[in-house]
């Protein structure tokens, strides 16, 4: 159990490496790579047994360490132009560790700051429902909407006037079913059988068609006429039942 806690506590490969270096009381600028690599790999091996996935992330650095170790074994040769020493194979790692340590410090500082803020308290917002329930209505007016409204109104006014004009004509011509039936009866005086089109006459307005059709139905109901239509949408043929028609005539009078 002690192991588990110790292993899982590291935030990442650098964290573990920094711990090992500090624990071994090495200078970060002069890491004994062979020793540290051995310890590092040992830790990661133990970690594998607990959490293989997590250990995987630590393996990359293990490889880097091994590489550095092998480079360290090579004699420090002078480079080809005989001028400079080759770079210390550790220097890149050292830079990274230093940067990481810097951020670890920042994290510690933030943690402290967080703790400090735990001692400062604020109050919740007051109940604002009295205000929010009655929002201020802000009138959004713009010129285009205004002008459009006016234009639309002018157009509508024209349309309305046209509608009114027509309404008056319809009003003037309005006829009841009774009136229409009287007209139809007159037609049957001359002819016993009439097509619907003939009854309709020349006025093919919707109003007249409806009125005539309704009148025809009414006459049918009174059995004054018989109506036939041989095919759908075909011609409607109306035959007068003179007896009934006469009787109705009599009743009406």
């Amino acid at each position: 159990m002690v192991y588990k806690v110790k292993l899982d506590v590291f935030e990442g490969p650098f964290d573990l490496l920094v711990y090992l270096i500090e624990n071994a009381e090495m200078s970060i600028y002069d890491i004994q790579v062979a020793e540290i690599t051995k310890q590092y790999i040992e830790y990661v091996e133990r970690m594998k047994r607990i959490d293989a996935n997590l250990a995987g992330e630590f393996m990359v650095l293990a490889a880097t360490l091994i590489e550095i170790k092998s480079k360290m074994l090579l004699p420090r040769r002078v480079s080809e132009d005989d001028q400079e020493l080759m770079e210390d194979p550790r220097s890149e790692l050292v830079q990274k560790l230093l940067e990481y340590k810097q951020y670890k410090l920042v994290a510690a500082f933030l943690e402290e700051q967080e703790e400090r803020m735990q001692r400062i308290h604020t109050k919740p917002q007051e109940d604002l429902s009295v205000y929010t329930n009655e929002p201020d209505i802000y009138l959004n007016l713009d010129l285009v909407a205004f002008v459009k409204a006016f234009k639309l109104f002018l157009e509508r006014k024209k349309t309305l006037e046209e509608v009114r004009e027509r309404y008056r004509i319809i009003e003037r011509q309005r006829m009841t079913i009774e009136d229409r039936i009287e007209q139809i009866k007159h037609l049957f005086i001359k002819k016993k059988r009439l097509k619907f089109g003939e009854i309709l006459g020349g006025e093919r307005t919707r109003q007249n068609v409806v009125l005539t059709f309704l009148s025809m139905l009414e006459l049918m109901r009174q059995k004054a006429v018989k109506v036939r239509q041989h095919v759908n949408f075909g011609e409607i043929v109306i035959t007068v039942n003179e007896k009934e028609m006469a009787a109705k005539e009599g009743n009406n009078r």
């Binding site: 308290h121 109050k123 919740p124 604002l128 205000y131 929010t132 009655e134 929002p135 201020d136 209505i137 802000y138 009138l139 959004n140 007016l141 713009d142 010129l143 285009v144 909407a145 205004f146 002008v147 459009k148 409204a149 006016f150 234009k151 639309l152 109104f153 157009e155 509508r156 006014k157 349309t159 309305l160 509608v163």
Partner: protein, 196 residues
């Protein structure tokens, strides 16, 4: 800080976090002082906020104390907290407004004869919104009220004065310009027919 100062400062913090009236006895117990002493410290604090004309004050409810806002600032709190809701004028309100704008001063009867429909409610609404107002009385029979547009009307539409209104003849141009800008479909204008 003296002990009194320390306790007073703590009382302020405690009242602030507590929100509800903080009983002076409860506060006293935290410092192991007696209620009367705590009460007096609260009263001192209350006086300090008052004499300094602070925007927050301390009020007493049955020997308990609570922070609250100063009543004189109610107006500003209202301004801060009241949300604004955008509203547009209805088509009929816009129409009546347009008629008044172009024909002012005008009576209600004239507007109604132009629109062919009653408009008492619309006029009422426009007056409430401070877009139109009564500007006098006609000399005609019954001396009916004459309406005109207000300063708010000018301000809201961004007119300097009434001469700034687009001329009736130019109206189509104004609309065309704006539609070209918006790439609006002119066929999309629908005519609203009053359902009577």
């Amino acid at each position: 800080m003296s002990l009194r100062e320390t306790i007073k400062s703590a009382f302020e913090s405690m009242m602030f976090v507590w929100g509800e009236p903080l009983d002076s006895k409860v506060a006293a117990d935290i410092f192991n002082i007696d209620r009367k002493e705590a009460y007096e410290l609260f009263k001192e604090l209350q006086m300090e906020y008052e004499t300094q004309n602070r925007g927050i004050r301390i009020r007493e409810i049955d020997k308990a104390f609570q922070f609250c806002t100063w009543e004189g600032n109610d107006e500003y709190i209202r301004k801060l907290c009241t949300p604004v809701k955008e509203k547009r004028l209805s088509q009929s309100a816009m129409e009546v407004l347009a008629i008044i704008a172009y024909k002012q001063p005008v009576t209600k009867a004239e507007i109604e004869s132009i629109r062919g429909i009653k408009c008492d409610r619309v006029i009422e609404g426009l007056i409430k919104k401070d877009l139109i107002e009564e500007v006098g009385r006609s000399t005609g029979i019954g001396r009916p009220i004459l309406y005109g547009t207000t300063k708010t009307f000018l301000k809201n539409f961004g007119f300097k004065n009434l001469n700034d209104l687009p001329r009736m003849e130019d109206i189509s141009d104004v609309i065309r310009e704006s539609e070209e800008g918006e790439a609006a479909d002119p066929l999309q204008i629908t005519l609203e027919i009053p359902n009577k």
